[in-house]
């Protein structure tokens, strides 16, 4: 296993399956009376978040703690970054403190890759701008596999702002590698060109796309990334692309409804739909911890100094 997890694009199908199988075993730990194993005792995990996050950060904290790592979270708003410290400086400080893992989220794509080259610690990308969010892609694949047994041939529809979504990117990599048939649907202005090259089907009409789907991943409308007027208005978006009562009622009984969170309830998905029997949003949160435990376990193997020679 390599030192870092930076994206899913560079992972093979076998790599992804190994992570998901390991996550299966990790999930059992979370159901025990003592939800802790000693595997990473004495190791230090630092969460370095340059962008807001609750669930991903908490999920990594929990995953680290369940494996007995010591976990620190740096919230950039209250750190020396506000004094003008550069990312590299911050990371060197983190490394000097003896971090074995650095989990990083940043608004610029490629920052985790840059950090991975400068430090010996294992670097995990927790979201870099609009590029990738690999552990989200893994936990989505895990959740679908848990529900449907396998991803091979399954029809998965991703709805929303595909252009700005790192979740969509990581999902597409993970799901297509595992053999799922992925389609996307969103306003034409928010669909990146060239998706068909990766075998992804593209829709702009949700009501045309929905009947084909076995799994529906509803993306959050990322208001913080909307600067160019690509979105008409929230009301119109909600009307054309929101999972509301009517669309929910028209879905099959075995459909798997997903949302990476946090949901703007009433915009891309209504509360009724999010709480529906077919919704696996809470499973996604729980599975996120198991998947991150698996990633930490797999990255912790081996003597790194030997590999470096």
């Amino acid at each position: 296993m390599r030192k870092d997890l930076l994206d899913l694009r560079s992972l093979s199908k076998q790599d992804i399956e190994l992570i998901l199988d390991t996550a299966d075993a990790c999930k059992e730990i979370l159901s025990r009376p003592v939800r802790k194993v000693p595997t990473l005792r004495g190791k230090v995990l630092v969460n370095l978040f340059y962008e807001a996050s609750t669930r991903t950060r908490m999920s990594f904290e929990m995953a680290g703690k369940c494996l007995s790592a010591d976990v620190m979270s740096v919230s950039v708003a209250t750190s020396s970054v506000t004094k003008g410290e550069s990312i590299k400086d911050t990371v060197r400080t983190v490394e000097a403190l003896g971090a074995d893992f650095v989990v990083i989220r940043h608004s610029s794509p490629g920052v985790p890759h840059l950090i991975a080259r400068t430090v010996r610690a294992g670097v995990i990308n927790a979201g870099d701008g609009t590029h990738e969010h690999p552990t989200q892609g893994l936990l989505d694949a895990f959740t679908i596999r848990e529900r449907l047994g396998s991803l091979a041939g399954r029809r998965v529809l991703i709805v929303g702002d595909i252009l700005h979504s790192r979740v969509a990117r990581s999902d597409i990599w993970a799901l297509t590698k595992l053999g799922a048939r992925v389609a996307v649907c969103g306003p034409a202005t928010l669909l990146p060109p060239g998706l068909e090259r990766f075998g992804v089907k593209v829709y702009t009409d949700l009501d045309e796309a929905l009947p084909q789907a076995e799994v529906i991943q509803v993306l959050r409308v990322q208001l913080e990334r909307q600067k160019g007027g690509l979105l008409p208005s929230l009301r119109e978006y909600s009307r054309r692309y929101g999972i509301n009562k009517q669309r929910l009622d028209a879905l099959g009984q075995d459909v798997v409804l997903m949302h990476p969170g946090p949901a703007n309830l009433g915009v891309e998905i209504t509360e009724v739909a999010a709480e529906d029997r077919r919704s696996v949003i809470r499973d996604q949160v729980r599975n996120g911890v198991a998947v991150r435990m698996a990633v930490l376990y797999l990255l912790s193997g081996g003597d790194k100094s030997e590999l470096a020679d």
Binding site: T22, D24, P33, P38
Partner: protein, 186 residues
Amino acid sequence: MPEEHLVIKAELMDAAAIQRALKRIAHEIIEAGKGVQDVALVGIRTRGVPLARRLSDFIYQFEQVRCPVGVLDITLYRDDLTLVAQQPVLQKTDIPLDITGKTIVLVDDVLYTGRTVRAAMDALIDHGRPACIRLAVLIDRGHRELPIRADFVGKNVPTSRQEIISVRLMETDGEERVVIQEYSKK
């Protein structure tokens, strides 16, 4: 560089000998506990699991009581994880009962350094507080590095550290025997 071959030096047990040893251990478990009402068997992956299932079957034959069987993967409790270059594949632990207050018989194929058993006891205790933990092994080959001993032993085999004891079971290996192997330079 001379190639190293793993050669079989001797067969320690055949299918009949394995079955006799397991039957005896089953009797010993029943006798030691004056019955098996509160006994559960927990197999250590990989080969401890089929052995635990067979012991449970024998106990049922002799006593008409079904002892539950659990499966333990001790990978996350190993003390040598940072020494191996590739992380071992993690598999599921499945303890389908509340072990608190129970007599747990840990089952493994070979007892060697004792480190696996140490890890297994740590793993088990994370699932509850058993009344006691016993240890049953098919082969005890010596060379303990920890103060651990087995309560039920199929066969004691003096070995050298260069030798490898290979337990092969129908369920995992498609054959039924125990052999002693060694690397020889050829």
